[in-house]
Symmetry: C2
Subunit: 280 residues, 2 copies
């Protein structure tokens, strides 16, 4: 049966020494699209509008990596280890080749998978993300604190400030996005632990402080769709442009008056762009 | 009566020593949006989908500048002179303040108007354009020749190659765009003369060779929406990013798998973005 975000069953699979939780959406067949998630995110934090839009014509797989949400183990504090676990997950499911959809931290992981296991990857979507050593990425701790401070002051979810622009349109989009994330009622995932958040923040800061990966990215031949809002405060938008300049087979989509969550604010347009990109 | 692209009456108005042709669309009232056109373009070369989309809630004015199409006089060979004529046109119509929509060469003109007569301008849309001294702009002659050569070889309009990406999606969008440009049957404008094309090409090349205007643009306080395709070969996309980096109050919209005519390929999404920008 074809499953949607709302009713997709949570499954587990043994990957190396632990069990990871995952869900599958859409019809089986074709190259599956494996989604790689952002800091603090669990299965329920994907935008249903985005996932169901893509799952309408693709086999979509979402999962919690090691230590995240309902998955077992401790979250590692490096992108390289997260990528190794993601590769093991993909292989455990028996996929010979996948499309990767990486958002933010998940985009870092997607880049490392493409560099280390190019054979495993067909196409890549990189949203709200950037290269190793990219501008402003290592500020993640301060940016998070600022978002949480603004959220507390405004009595709103910090994602209002971390994912969306401060304009009327941006804040309206934040409300709509958060509303969509609450749609699924049954069988919700476990929230992330403090250990996971700390390890992920460390991994992001280390990615930002690492030597630039721009030269390595010039060797990545996969078709890549890069997307972001024009005023991302978490992984500054200039990093999306740096990815576009470096990757030899890339397309670029920038949404106006939008932040880190620009792909959610413009979910309809972005789904359309992604479907065309995957179909080409 | 509200007029659309299809039925808008062609009018003339005395501006300094000559008569310029123009058309008005949409309901009168509010700040009018004055459109500034690209190399070789006359009144009929605006995309009806774009113009009618904006004219649905704005007073839209399109015109042929000095020497272009049905307008009198000789086309000047500098952006500064084109801007002076455009200002005279706006003042002849009695507008105290306008929004400017500049595409390509028209975007150069819009920038000069905003710099020299900031009082006359409320908001600006800059599509497929770039700053003075911007990368690759002075190559216009060679780029045009290449487009015409490819057009002749493929028995297609050169805009297939100058305005759109070579992908299946891009070429399909070119067909649809050219079809829309042919929709208006009655009272079509006069095509541009060789004198106009030569003067415009000279003006564009000089703009590309001029000292960089980036520092001057940092003083332009108007809200600006910058838009382009991600693979513009006429005014390379990096110029749109340079505008976004320089202008203090700018938003950026980049469309994937799209060229100089990305705003026409994504006309629906772009109209929506433009309406939100003008309404804010």
């Amino acid at each position: 049966m074809t499953q949607t975000f709302q009713n997709a069953v949570t499954r587990t699979i043994q990957v190396k020494d632990i069990r990871l939780v995952y869900r599958e959406l859409g019809a089986r067949g074709g190259v599956p699209v494996v989604f790689l998630h952002h800091l603090t995110a669990v299965l329920d934090d994907w935008d249903p509008k985005l996932l169901d839009g893509i799952a309408g014509s693709h086999h979509v797989v979402i999962f919690d990596n090691r230590g995240v949400g309902g998955s077992g183990g401790q979250t590692p504090a490096s992108v390289a280890e997260m990528a190794a676990d993601a590769i093991a997950f993909i292989e455990a499911l028996g996929f010979a080749q996948v499309d990767l959809f990486g958002f933010s931290l998940g985009g870092f992981v997607a880049q490392v998978i493409a560099e280390t296991r190019p054979d495993l990857v067909r196409k890549i979507v990189l949203a709200g993300t950037g290269p190793a050593g990219g501008a402003g990425i290592s500020n993640i701790g301060a940016v998070l604190q600022d978002g949480f401070r603004k959220g507390a002051a405004a009595k709103k979810h910090p994602k209002h400030f971390l994912f969306f622009s401060p304009s009327h349109e941006g804040q309206k989009a934040a409300d709509a996005f958060l509303h969509r994330l609450a749609e699924r009622q049954a069988d919700r995932d476990t929230p992330v632990s403090d250990q996971t958040v700390q390890a992920q923040v460390t991994a992001i800061a280390k990615w930002g402080q690492a030597p630039s990966s721009i030269e390595a990215l010039k060797q990545v031949r996969h078709p890549v769709l890069i997307a972001n809002g024009d005023e991302d405060v978490m992984v500054p938008t200039r990093n999306s442009i740096a990815l576009f300049d470096a990757l030899p087979n890339a397309k670029l989509s920038i949404f106006p008056d939008a932040g880190h969550g620009g792909i959610f604010q413009y979910a309809d347009a972005f789904v359309d762009q992604t479907l065309r990109f995957l179909a080409e």
